[in-house]
């Protein structure tokens, strides 16, 4: 067996102190297999050692929460005995190295997290960040990532219903690929990962094990440098066909009562699934690797324990139910093997070729992983925006056209048309709205899903940025009429060993926590992706928030498109004209300055609850929240979606039209209802005003102080940027 040298310890990403601790816990030197197992279990990716202490501040409980963080995915009550199960996860590093397979296996991984709990996946979302469009790698990465997400999700037959895409130079060397999966289960059919009890068979199902992605988990916990393209470890290739069979086979097995515990093999494969199941079940597991289905010859115990081959699951069955389970996996033509047994020793024991090759206390692996209170510095607040930060005389129409066709605001149609968003025949709101709406099959209930974060706000002020991400997600769910239920997060940051980056993490978590508490929007699952930096250049802090809401009656939902000429356009919320960190400033004035818009969570809740009430009562069917680009962009989006013009009367001037003040919505309603709404708003203390009308000349957007602009011209700028960019030669 390979001798453990300080060099080998370092190559496993363990510090001297961590190695010392391992020796102490084992009472001896670990052997090579054990070192490998510890290294993945104690990696940032699996142990959350830099963030664990801070994540505790997130609210995770609430009246609808059935299962918070700690299981494969979060579980939330949606009434009638149904539950929605969801989680978001990153596949950033693999996607940068091999965009198609990296993104595809990211989708596959997050789906397994959801169906391992007994849910049938019903919708996928993704949040993508790329470098600047003119960076030589960007086009190739966009093409590969989008094709990979589609390639896997489409084959699975789960609709991909939304997401977000941003471009910024901070992602030139580190793109972000975050995927979210939402599933539905019956509350009495939810499966967990605690391998309770001794003497129960441990079964392995799915694909065979190869030497895929060995050390993927440690790679996801290390910075990139110029050498990493050469040091590329084997990239995993996704097999969505096998995953589809695995999904159906697992759901079929779950319909019986043969399962005690089940867990997908994600990062660090067999190692983390077995250790975590034993730890949660307060039991031990003995594995015999001779029985592991293998794809390659001469695989060592180290290879098998660390392999990240995809499309595999580990389960603990009730004794005597093995044959019943085997028949199901045979039917789906998947590998099935009994590879071990649970014990009462609280140890993970691994046998291979007649020898014990590893024997470690389970709690040392799972619970004794280090937790760091890393030093951090807080960024000082930015001074208010300088008075001369923008040219007040700049023609508004030109800016509008430029913004609506800019990389971050242009239509994502080129992306979502590569995703099957109508399969399963329950998609009520397809991509292009504020939140996607998917019906709970066979009912009138619907689930709304949105994915949000504004990284430029987070860079300027991570605390306000964290709050804003939650608030915008909550607002997007509200805009379709859903009651926001709970969130999953995907915290993407740079190297936590830098105090400035750690400061961003701490502040963003504080902001998220504050917003989630204020909005009654608990966190039920999540994922951290750190070390996203290249040559010391970190990404923008990007804590993506995936939110899920419920529409008790899915037929009463609102959408962004103008529907009736003559409708009054009602603005809900207060407009101060906050231009700091706005897209207007960045795209038109070329400046990323000023503080981001502050979020008043009380106002946010008050305004949102008011708007949702109107949709629920059936008074309003046309709603759009105001976010990136401000009020005029939101009106333009409603006009383009409805193919109707609009005439504004109220707002005036660049700050009013393009400011990104929070907690605002636009409604379009018949005049008589508008008057009623104004009255109700006044009573509720909600700022509301009629700012214009749908229609106008019918074909133009008319705004005081702006040259009337054809909707067709807006649409052309909006729809062509991305396809033209992608069609241009490499």
């Amino acid at each position: 067996m390979i001798e453990i040298t300080p060099q080998i310890v370092r190559e496993h990403g363990l510090s001297d102190a961590e190695y010392g601790r391992i020796k102490q816990l084992l009472n001896r030197e670990p052997n090579y297999v054990e070192l490998g197992v510890f290294s993945v279990m104690w990696s940032e990716h699996c142990s959350y050692k830099s963030t664990r202490a801070h994540l505790r501040r997130l609210p995770t409980k609430g009246p609808v929460v059935i299962q918070g963080p700690g299981e494969n995915a979060g579980v939330v009550d949606i009434g009638d005995g149904d539950a929605v199960i969801f989680k978001m996860e990153s596949h950033n590093h693999p996607s940068f190295i091999e965009p198609y397979q990296g993104a595809a296996t990211g989708v596959g991984g997050i789906m397994r997290d959801v169906f391992t709990m007994g849910a049938r996946p019903i919708a996928m979302m993704n949040a993508l960040r790329f470098g600047t469009p003119d960076h030589p790698k960007t086009r190739h990465l966009v093409a590969g990532v989008v094709a990979g997400i589609g390639g896997y999700g489409n084959c699975m037959g789960v609709p991909t219903v939304g997401g977000e895409v941003n471009f910024h130079s901070a992602y030139n060397g580190n793109i972000l690929v975050n995927a979210m999966c939402v599933g539905i289960a019956r509350q009495d059919k939810i499966f967990k990962s605690a391998a309770e009890g001794a003497g129960n068979p441990v079964i392995y199902v799915g694909s065979k094990t190869g030497r895929d992605g060995i050390h993927g988990a440690t790679m996801a916990s290390a910075e990139f440098d110029e050498n990493s393209e050469e040091k590329r470890p084997t990239v995993q290739v996704g097999d969505p066909f096998t995953e589809k069979l695995l999904l159906e086979a697992c759901l079929e097995l779950m319909a019986t009562d043969a399962i005690i515990a089940i867990q997908d093999m994600g990062a660090a494969g067999l190692t983390s699934s077995s250790a975590e199941m034993a730890s949660k079940g307060n039991s031990g597991i003995e594995l015999n690797l001779d029985h592991v289905p293998q794809r390659e010859e001469n695989m060592t115990a180290y290879d098998m324990m660390l392999s990240e081959s995809q499309e595999r699951m580990l389960a603990v069955l009730k004794p005597g139910r093995e044959d019943e389970a085997r028949r199901i996996f045979d039917k789906w033509e998947l590998d099935f093997a009994i590879i071990g047994i649970t014990t009462d020793t609280n140890r993970l024991v691994i046998r291979h070729k007649g020898e014990i090759v590893a024997d470690m206390p389970v709690n040392a692996l799972a619970d004794e992983a280090p937790v760091y209170e890393r030093p951090f510095t807080r960024r000082p607040a930015l001074p208010p925006l300088a008075k001369n930060a923008f040219d007040p005389k700049r023609p508004i129409a030109d800016s509008l056209l430029q913004l609506i066709g800019s990389p971050d605001l242009s239509s994502r149609r080129w992306v979502w048309e590569q995703f099957d968003y109508t399969v399963m025949a329950d998609t009520v709101q397809a991509p292009g709205g504020d939140a996607a709406v998917v019906r709970v099959h066979g009912t009138n209930k619907s689930i709304a899903i949105a994915c949000d974060v504004t990284p430029r706000y987070c860079r300027a002020d991570p605390f306000e940025g964290g709050k804003q991400a939650v608030a915008e997600c909550w607002r997007n769910l509200t805009s379709v009429g859903a009651t926001p239920l709970a969130v999953t997060d995907n915290l993407n940051f740079g190297n936590p060993e830098r105090p400035e980056t750690m400061g961003e993490i701490v502040a963003a978590i504080d902001g998220i926590a504050e917003a989630c508490i204020a909005l009654g929007f608990p966190v039920v699952s999540g994922n951290c992706s750190l070390y996203n930096e290249t040559n010391g250049e970190p990404i923008l802090p990007t804590p993506a928030i995936g939110g899920v809401g419920l529409l008790k009656d899915g037929t009463r939902h609102a959408s962004v498109a103008f529907k009736r000429a003559g409708d009054a356009i009602v603005l809900i919320g207060e407009t101060k004209g906050h231009l700091g960190q706005s897209l207007y400033l960045r795209e038109i004035e070329g400046s990323e300055s000023g503080p981001p818009p502050p979020v008043d969570l009380g106002v946010e809740k008050r305004n949102g609850d008011f708007v949702r009430g109107l949709i629920e009562m059936g008074q309003v069917d046309t709603v759009h929240d105001i976010s990136d680009g401000g009020l005029l962009i939101a009106v333009a989006e409603m006009a383009m979606a409805g193919g109707m013009g609009a005439m504004l009367e109220g707002p005036d001037g660049i700050a009013q039209l393009f400011g990104e003040d929070q907690a605002r919505y636009l409604l379009a309603v018949p005049h008589s209802i508008a008057q009623e709404i104004l009255g109700d708003a006044k009573a509720a203390g909600v700022p509301a005003a009629i700012i214009g009308f749908v229609g106008g000349t019918g074909t133009h957007l008319e705004v005081p102080g702006m040259t009337a602009t054809r909707i067709a011209a807006l649409k052309s700028a909006h729809e062509t940027w991305l396809p033209n960019y992608m069609a241009a030669p490499q």
Binding site: A147, G150, G151, N154, C155, M156, G157, D239, P240, F241, T242, K244, L245, W332, E333, W416, E417, Q418, F419, D420, Y421, T422, V423, M424, A425, D426, T427, V428, A430, R439, G554, T555
Partner: protein, 222 residues
């Protein structure tokens, strides 16, 4: 009307087809496993959309070799109606029940969007509830729907009134020859089409244009 839906490994519109059939006919279809050897006596056999066998090698190629296909062929020969949607259409061309082949989309990308279709032929069990020349909208969702056949075959299909659906002018999503979206077999009891009628039978999902495919079948076969 009694119907059956064949389920291949990684079919994924089997449930959608079953839901639409039940909604339209009031009767649950029989779900038939690809490894079975016989389909029960039904009026209509549906080969659903999806990614049978992952679409590996060629779309529909492996499914066309599955055990159940022998019986699909036998029943089709006897005149039982067979409807192949999307992947089901690919299976039908691979089995030879329909001529031609479905190739990779001309733009090489998967495409999901609602498309306009003109009804080219209302004289069939699948389309009689539509008016000839009418335009309807069904969603497409496929990576390989680019219909190909040699000119003689195409001429013959047109001459015999076997082009049932055509993509509306300017809306061809995949480069398909002569904008063909769906074709009939010689005996007109087999229809293959790339767009998804079963995804537009419910007003809550933004359209009901697909209903009349099922209504046509009910009128003809019940």
């Amino acid at each position: 009307m009694k119907s059956a839906v064949v389920v291949f490994p990684a079919s994924n519109c089997d449930r959608d087809a079953a839901v639409a059939l039940e909604q339209m006919t009031g009767q649950k279809p029989v779900m038939v496993w690809h490894g079975d050897s016989e389909i029960p006596d039904v009026d209509l056999i549906v080969l659903p959309g999806g990614f049978s066998y992952g679409d590996y090698l060629r779309c529909g190629a492996m499914a066309s070799q599955s055990r159940i296909i022998r019986d699909v062929k036998a029943k089709a020969d006897k005149g039982v109606a067979v409807l192949g949607i999307c992947n089901g259409f690919q299976v039908l061309t691979e089995t030879g029940l329909l001529p031609g082949a479905l190739m990779r989309n001309a733009k090489l990308k998967f495409v999901c969007r609602p498309v306009g279709l003109t009804i080219e032929e209302s004289q069939s069990a699948f389309t009689r509830a539509y008016a000839k020349g009418e335009t309807v909208r069904f969603p497409v969702a496929h990576g390989e729907g680019n219909y190909f056949a040699d000119d003689a075959t195409l001429d013959r299909l047109e001459g015999e009134g076997r082009v049932a659906f055509r993509y509306a002018e300017g809306e061809n999503p995949n480069g398909s020859a002569r904008n063909i979206a769906g074709i009939l077999s010689e005996k007109r009891n087999v229809l293959g089409l790339m767009p998804h009628p079963e995804r537009v039978v419910d007003a809550a999902l933004g359209g009901t244009d697909g209903r009349r495919v099922f209504q046509s079948l009910i009128e003809t076969l019940s």
